[in-house]
Symmetry: C3
């Protein structure tokens, strides 16, 4: 299967149902699993140090999110990342509110040293990770995605990874290539953990056999953006948006994705 357009990635996702090992926050656990299942991947949540490295080695990709970390979970996360790396599997980092406390700053520094394949965050997180001053206080973005473009490019080059800044539009770069992806809905930040769930979906796409991490990240963001737009057409508010969004992730086919994805070179 040649992976070119987002649609070809989506077909591959559905045909192979990659096993995505997720260590994510408690808020995001259920919705992340539902996002992966609706899209076509196979999620598994495994966090204990006793087994996380062993499990990561046979999963197709690993998704790490620091939203509700504690020291024991950080240990499990490090075991998983090391297991994935030793087995040559890609991993995605979602650095939730990494600037908020000393414990988070320390943890994210350890994770950056392990060289994620992709970093996905909101604008405030990416700006702060690149060393800039962001406007954020908690876990919600207070900066626009466009304000994070330069930071994302710099972070991508310095950390030698794909960086995805997601929000009202998404910006994805590998330090050389860069695109803007439009779509989605203003209701999406009103549903908790949809950003976290996208990180896990990115892991699913990046875990496809033969996937290029940049193209796969773009495909995941495009799938999300097109599904978000479809769901928003029928949603009355953030509550009804969530089931409609899962339906849309599941119902969109490859041709529709390629037709409706709005991806512009940056």
């Amino acid at each position: 299967m040649t992976l070119t357009t987002p649609g070809s990635h989506l077909d591959a996702l559905r045909n192979t149902a990659p096993l995505v090992h997720c260590i994510t926050n408690y808020v995001a656990m259920n919705i992340s699993a539902n996002v992966l299942l609706a899209a076509g991947a196979s999620p598994a949540m495994v966090h204990a140090t006793e087994e996380a490295g062993e499990f990561a080695a046979f999963a197709h990709a690993l998704s790490i999110n620091i939203g509700t970390i504690s020291p024991a979970w950080v240990e499990g996360i490090l075991a998983a990342v090391n297991g994935a790396k030793a087995a040559g599997k890609p991993w995605v980092l979602d650095p939730v509110a990494h600037f908020a406390t000393g414990f988070r700053r320390e943890t994210v520094a350890k994770l950056m040293a392990l060289k994620p394949t992709v970093i996905r965050g909101n604008a405030s997180e990416i700006i702060a990770l690149a060393g800039g001053a962001s406007a954020a206080q908690g876990v919600d973005a207070r900066d626009s995605v466009s304000a994070a473009e330069a930071a994302a490019r710099m972070l991508s080059r310095n950390a030698d990874c794909v960086v995805a800044v997601t929000g009202e539009t998404d910006f994805v770069t590998d330090g050389v290539r860069a695109v803007w992806i439009s779509g989605g809905s203003a209701l999406m930040p009103q549903v908790t953990a949809l950003g976290c769930s996208l990180s896990s979906l990115v892991a699913g796409y990046v875990g496809l056999e033969g996937a290029d991490p940049f193209d796969a990240t773009v495909a995941a963001c495009a799938h999300y953006a097109v599904a978000g737009e479809a769901a928003a057409r029928e949603a009355a508010g953030p509550g009804s948006f969530q089931p409609l969004f899962l339906d849309a992730l599941s119902l969109i086919d490859a041709a529709t994705l390629d037709e409706q994805a709005r991806i512009l070179p940056a």
Copy 2:
């Protein structure tokens, strides 16, 4: 902004999106975050001892729920409460099934000594917390709210805090003032963790700049009651109720809230 009616509180919530630090049970995590986002606040779940106190200091309010505690989480909870108190931030206690085991009784005693700003519980929890004999066995209320009125008044005076007993109608008192709030729906106890989520919403309202804890608690309960009634008009059962309820929390505006809230002096 002057905070008078529930509607004026709702406007303030949406204009300032207070950061609500929640340490709640695993069942309630996702729905609590969605309730806060739909209402207009900004939730963050942070429980590790290593960072909970630091985080609580810059959040606008703290919400503590003992539903699925363990010793490590109790440590984090105490760090968070002490951090909130040192920074002069209000905090809400949800004493889930605190009478059920020795470990819970001990934990709630430690928390009561730290003087919550507001206690929100079901009738069985409030009766037991005031020292009475409740009919409860597990986490669901087995007593009526009206049977808890005297206990709530006594608890409020003894603990010098606002007490909210929620159920088929809600009773809120600060030991001097007291009101009944009607509304909601019989479907609400059939959806898990809606009571827990209300505790976090109370924290959001109480965390508003210049808020009086009694008025803010009443506003949160009124917002919930009106949204619950609206959702019940369209829901076929507890499953469809939940997305409709989140929509209603988000769609209700200040004028509608003030018009539809049914608050009677007790």
Copy 3:
């Protein structure tokens, strides 16, 4: 109340609302509680070693799921199972992906030694638990239920318990009696943790006063299958399926359950 048909079990469930003590994975917590509430039972999640045994003793049944275990949780699980057994209460084991890592294999061996009343798993899990070679890699079944029939019969006789293999059709046996239950929907495996939630619902039914574990397990599976079919008639995808399924669990009455359940001797 005589418990004969699935409908008579359902009436008993709604009339007595058995307290179901669940120690389940983080993904399944919320949806399991909602399934139990919609069906008519009263869920409680309590996992700490400090209280799990004490709580299990006064609950009507215990549901154990190893989906996201860590050493501390295994301790709490063992305390709960020992508490339930000492008090003569039934308990259900859901051995999620027990073959995937050494830590899981060890844990499930400890649990099997404590003699569960019922084991509910997918085909891959039951085949592996009976000592066979399954096709599974992660948490999703890769074997058909019919391929697991012999394994289920053997496991049931060897472990002296009821075994339920659920999937496209369900197979339930106590080593002597055996039935197939049809119904449900192809959307069910696309919604995360519906299998886990069924294990907790089985615990609710098995916890009914005077229940026979085999008949009660069949009743729980039939309730699920009929509700799944009803929900699928209106669902557009896995997102809309979930609220419709909870509605259906709640709305189905005893007569409808008995009329629509498709249970065939095996």
